[in-house]
Structure formats: structure tokens, C-alpha cells
């Protein structure tokens, strides 16, 4: 157990870190992330980039679903909007990528108001279906406005050049994604410790009491939609850059399910959980293929022919196992481990 640490001022309660030891650990973590591309080959780098992009998207969904308790299956809609906002502004109009990224957040944030307003009074399953419909609507709109979006054939996206620096290799793209991921973590942590984050969680835990405390339920649900879609939109733009191509086929509905699965596996409502869940679920096919590899050539063959089906099956299995055995997800496991470590050798 950590001991010998105490707080003398109120400000220390609000700070994100409370000791030098903690700061050193964070620094080690950052160095580790920076060092990652040197270990991995091309495939490994693309995998960790995908993990980082998924983590950003999951953190975005976490604001809406994890904190505010509003289930959404419409995340692909906002990813698509973010990706197109970036692709159109940067590739078609030749605007600087930094503005493209800003638009990739702003456009979905305002679009989410259109989805949010009709769903303010809905909860649970009804809300999920309404948001799901928004995903279909956005896809139709993309096909309809083909003058702007190039319809079904999509838009080719180059690797961005920001302030004269070209993110032209896979490793550099990873650094860009990791940096945006870091900003997202900071923004989420700050939101979490503010009146806004507390209002979101108050709405989830007890909306009646939240209203008596002066929280405007409708406004704050919309704020949650907007903040969530802003981040999800940026993850969509990054995904478009990662694929080098933005089309609606690049953003299947499965992504929305995947995002929810990440939150469940990681631990609902936890920022660290969203990151852990993303790493775990994106890495899951790799772990499986490694395991299948141990069973020899035929097993490997089987995996490569049915890769997509097996992936879907695994997702289902993992979600069921977590919901049944560890509803608090990977973060729950981590808390249990921490508690056991603190109390050891006693049981409680």
C-alpha cells in the first residue's frame, strides 16, 4: 500500500497527480509509447495505431454512454461525418490539416444535436435504436450528396503535413495518433473532475436528484452528445487517414458495436478502461492467431479462411464472459488485484 503521502491544500485534491512517484510512472509510460514503433515492424505499427484510434473513439463514446448513461449505437455516423469533414476540407478544398481536424470534431458535434434533440426523452433500448437510425441516415446522406462526398467511390486521403512536418511514414502517423490520444485523455480527465463531468454522472446515477441540484437535464444530455461526438469525429478522421481512404464501406455498423464492446470489456465509465479495452479487443485477433498458430498449419489455414467470422464470434464470446463474470471489466480486475495486493496475506 502507498503510504507517507498526505495532502495539505485543497488544490492538491484536484490535481491529476499527487506524488513524484506517480509522475515518474507516467513519464515511463510515455517513453514506452514513444519507443513502441522501434520494436515493431510495419504490421505491428499499424496494429498499435489502430489500437490508439479505437481508444480515442472509445473515450469519446465513454462520455456519452459510460458517464451520462445514454446508450448509443450511432457512433459510426459521427465517425463517418468526422472522416468526411476532414477529407472534404483537406483533400477537396485544400485546407490545412489542422483545420481539417478541427472540423472533424466540430461537424459531428453539431450534427449530434440533431440526433440528440429527438432522443432527449428516450432511454435504454429506445435511445439505442434511435441513434442506430442516425447511422443509416448519415450513410444515405453521404451517397446522396455525391457532388461533395464523391458518393460510393469515396475520397482518397493523403498523410497529413502539419506545420511543415510531414507525417508520411507509418511510425510518424502513430506518433500523431498517440499525441491526439494524449490530448483526448487530458481533456477527458479534466472534464471528469469538473462540474460538467459531475453533472453527466449525476444524470446517469439519479436524474431526479440531478435536476433538484439545478442540472438542466436536456442541456447536459446535449452537451454529452456534443463532447462525445467531437472526439468520435476526430477518431473517424484519423481512421480515414489510417485507411488512406474515406468511404462509407470503411465504417461498417460493426464499429459501433465494437466501441460498446470496448467499454464493457474495459469497464464502463472509466477512461483507463476505454484504453485498456481498446488495446485488448483490437489485439484479440492477434492473440487468437498466435494461439491457433501453436496448433499447426491446418488451424492456421482455418483461421485465415474464416477470419471475419471468427472475429465476430470472439467479440460475442468475450462480451458475454465479461458481462457474466466481471461486469466492471478490465478496470474491475485491476481494482481487485490492487485490493488483494494491499491486503495480502490477509483476505480482507
Amino acid at each position: 500500500m502507498r503510504s507517507g503521502y498526505f495532502k495539505e491544500t485543497v488544490a492538491e485534491h484536484i490535481n491529476l497527480t499527487d506524488s513524484t512517484l506517480q509522475r515518474i510512472w507516467i513519464l515511463i509510460g510515455l517513453i514506452f509509447v514513444v519507443a513502441l514503433p522501434f520494436y515493431f515492424g510495419l504490421y505491428g505499427i499499424s496494429l498499435i495505431t489502430l489500437m490508439a484510434i479505437s481508444a480515442i473513439g472509445a473515450m469519446g463514446l465513454n462520455i456519452l454512454t459510460g458517464w451520462t448513461g445514454q446508450i448509443s449505437l450511432g457512433q459510426t455516423a459521427f465517425m463517418v461525418l468526422g472522416a468526411y469533414a476532414y477529407a472534404i476540407s483537406v483533400e477537396s478544398w485544400g485546407w490545412p490539416p489542422i483545420i481539417g481536424f478541427a472540423l472533424a470534431g466540430i461537424v459531428p458535434a453539431f450534427a449530434s444535436v440533431l440526433v440528440g434533440v429527438p432522443s432527449l426523452r428516450l432511454k435504454g433500448l429506445y435511445l439505442a435504436i434511435t441513434t442506430l437510425a442516425s447511422a443509416f441516415i448519415v450513410n444515405q446522406l453521404v451517397l446522396e450528396f455525391d457532388g461533395l462526398t464523391n458518393g460510393a467511390s469515396g475520397i482518397f486521403v493523403n498523410r497529413p503535413t502539419i506545420f511543415g512536418y510531414a507525417f508520411d511514414t507509418d511510425a510518424k502517423l502513430f506518433y500523431l495518433v498517440a499525441f491526439i490520444g494524449l490530448l483526448t485523455v487530458l481533456a477527458c480527465l479534466n472534464l471528469r473532475r469538473s462540474r460538467i463531468g459531475r453533472a453527466f454522472i449525476a444524470i446517469r446515477d439519479n436524474d431526479n436528484a440531478a435536476r433538484v441540484m439545478g442540472i438542466d437535464l436536456r442541456a447536459y444530455k446535449l452537451y454529452a452528445f456534443m463532447a462525445s461526438s467531437f472526439i468520435v469525429g476526430i477518431s473517424g478522421a484519423l481512421y480515414g487517414i489510417f485507411l488512406s481512404f474515406v468511404t462509407i464501406d470503411g465504417f461498417p455498423l460493426l464499429l459501433a458495436i465494437e466501441a460498446l464492446a470496448i467499454l464493457i470489456v474495459g469497464g464502463m465509465g472509466s477512461i483507463a478502461g476505454a484504453i485498456l479495452g481498446a488495446i485488448f479487443l483490437v489485439g484479440l485477433p492477434e492473440i487468437t492467431s498466435a494461439i491457433f498458430g501453436m496448433f499447426g498449419e491446418t488451424a492456421k489455414q482455418f483461421l485465415s479462411t474464416g477470419a471475419h467470422e471468427i472475429k465476430g464470434l470472439l467479440y460475442g464470446l468475450v462480451i458475454i464472459l465479461f458481462l457474466r463474470l466481471q461486469p466492471h471489466g478490465l478496470m474491475g480486475l485491476w481494482q481487485d488485484a490492487k485490493r488483494a495486493w494491499t491486503l495480502w496475506p490477509l483476505r480482507y
Partner: protein
């Protein structure tokens, strides 16, 4: 002179039933008023009307002369109405500090973008709110559980957190809905002490729904008795206790006739 909180002929209908029927009540700064009555008398409905959960059917409720019908429910708190709930309504996954901090919500101005940056005003506000919350925690003597998740606390402690959360909203009038229900003697006495201190130190008016008659008789300035949504009587605790209508409400009409002797006040006290 406008009263702090004034209810004028307030009626609330549910279908054909008048849950609250023509109730008038006013409360001044620093007063403690109790609302009593048997189950189903309309006490909690009355609180729900005052705190904006339900709209009134007819009549009006005003705070310092301002009609509540003109104000959206989530802004009642800004006029100075704070409340606790009969069955706990805490944010159960949050810590004690988190819960009480939510009470500071309306007094802070940080926008979503400022909050995400956590810089300047956002940080100053956060520290100020936190300082106030620490004072409340100290006042309610719950320092030892301040970082615990409220779901893990005992019932009595959770009630205190709820009182703290209501206090954090800086209320002018505090509605306490059966705050000592299910508490033992010692916890009840603690709460009574807090209620009196809140009145003394903060000048807050307190409207109390309570079944614990000892508490009601001890700390109330006035008692308002309801039955079937109607006011039976209002007045000094001793007068209300010996009022025939109150005795009838609690014991039935036969009880009132039997009590007509000289010792009826004593018998009522035992019954209540």
C-alpha cells in the same frame, strides 16, 4: 412583506383524487415548520410541488414573491429551494465529496470547453467549491468517510451526505422529507442538532416532513397538520397535538370521542 416561501390554495389532482387540496402555508427566514399527517395525507406530494417535480393544478407557490410557475424546475435551486428525499436519492457510484460537490453545480459557471482545458476560472471555481464542501463535511461530522463511495455507507451516514448535498446548494429554505426515518435515538438527536445549527448559523428556513413526533414537538416553531390533502390545523406544537381534528386523523373518529376527557392530550401524545 413577502414571505420566504408561500403556498396559496395549492391543489394537485391525480385524476379524480385531490392529493393536495387547497393548502396554504407560509414560512419565514429562520423558521422551522413541520408538516405532519398520516400516510397518504399528501405530505410528499406537497414537497414534490414545492421542489418542481410536479406542477400545481391550481393555486400558487412563490419564493420571496416570485411565482414558481414561471420558473423551469431545474432553476428552483437558484431561488433557494433545497431538498432531501424520503428514500435516498444519492449518486451512488460517487464518493461523499463528489456527491456534495454536485450541490455546488449551479453556483459554478465553467463551460464545457473551459472544463476540458481546466485552466484559469475553471480551476479557481473548482478549488473554491472544494473548500466549501470540506466545510460542510466538517459541519456534518463525516470527515472519516469523505472519500468513500456513498453506496458503501450506512443509512444514517447516507442521510447526512444527502443533507450535506442540499446544504451545498446554499438554500434559503430546506425541505427535509422524513430525514430521521429508520434512525436510532442517537442518530436522530444528531440530526436534530444539525437542523437547529443550520437554522442558527445559516438562517435557513426548514420545512420538515416527519413521523417522529418527539422531534417534531421539540424543534418546530409551528406544525402544519394534513389529512386527505387538506389542512386540519396549523399552530404551535402543543396546540396541534391536542387539536381534535389531528387526533381524529390519527386515531379515527371513535378515538376523538373517547379522548374528550381532561387527559386527552396525554393520550394523544402516546398515540402519536
Amino acid at each position: 412583506m413577502t414571505a420566504l416561501l408561500r403556498l396559496k390554495d395549492v391543489t394537485r389532482k391525480f385524476g379524480g383524487i385531490n392529493a393536495v387540496n387547497g393548502v396554504s402555508l407560509s414560512i419565514e427566514k429562520g423558521e422551522i415548520v413541520s408538516v405532519i399527517g398520516p400516510n397518504g395525507a399528501g405530505k410528499t406530494t406537497l414537497f414534490n410541488l414545492i421542489s418542481g417535480f410536479l406542477p400545481v393544478t391550481t393555486g400558487s407557490i412563490s419564493v420571496e414573491g416570485r411565482d414558481l410557475a414561471q420558473v423551469p424546475a431545474h432553476k428552483y435551486v437558484q431561488l433557494g429551494i433545497g431538498r432531501t428525499f424520503q428514500n435516498l436519492a444519492l449518486f451512488k457510484h460517487g464518493t461523499v465529496v463528489d456527491n456534495i460537490l454536485v450541490g455546488r453545480h449551479w453556483q459554478m459557471k465553467t463551460s464545457v470547453i473551459e472544463a476540458a482545458l481546466h485552466f484559469g476560472r475553471s480551476r479557481r471555481e473548482e478549488i473554491a467549491a472544494r473548500e466549501r464542501v470540506e466545510e460542510i463535511i466538517e459541519f456534518l461530522e463525516i470527515e472519516h468517510v469523505r472519500d468513500k463511495v456513498v453506496g458503501t455507507l450506512s443509512y444514517g451516514q447516507q442521510k447526512r451526505v444527502e443533507l450535506g448535498r442540499a446544504l451545498a446548494t446554499n438554500p434559503k429554505v430546506l425541505l427535509l422529507d422524513e430525514i430521521v426515518a429508520g434512525m436510532n435515538q442517537e442518530e436522530t438527536e444528531d440530526i436534530a442538532r444539525f437542523i437547529l445549527d443550520i437554522r442558527e448559523e445559516l438562517g435557513v428556513a426548514i420545512l420538515l416532513i416527519e413521523h417522529d413526533m418527539h422531534l417534531v414537538m421539540d424543534i418546530s416553531d409551528r406544525v402544519h397538520a394534513l389529512n386527505f390533502g387538506r389542512t386540519i390545523t396549523e399552530g404551535q406544537p402543543e396546540d396541534v397535538r391536542s387539536h381534535p381534528g389531528v387526533i381524529e386523523a390519527y386515531l379515527g373518529s371513535g378515538g376523538a370521542e373517547q379522548q374528550a376527557g381532561p387527559d386527552h392530550a396525554k393520550a394523544t401524545e402516546a398515540a402519536l
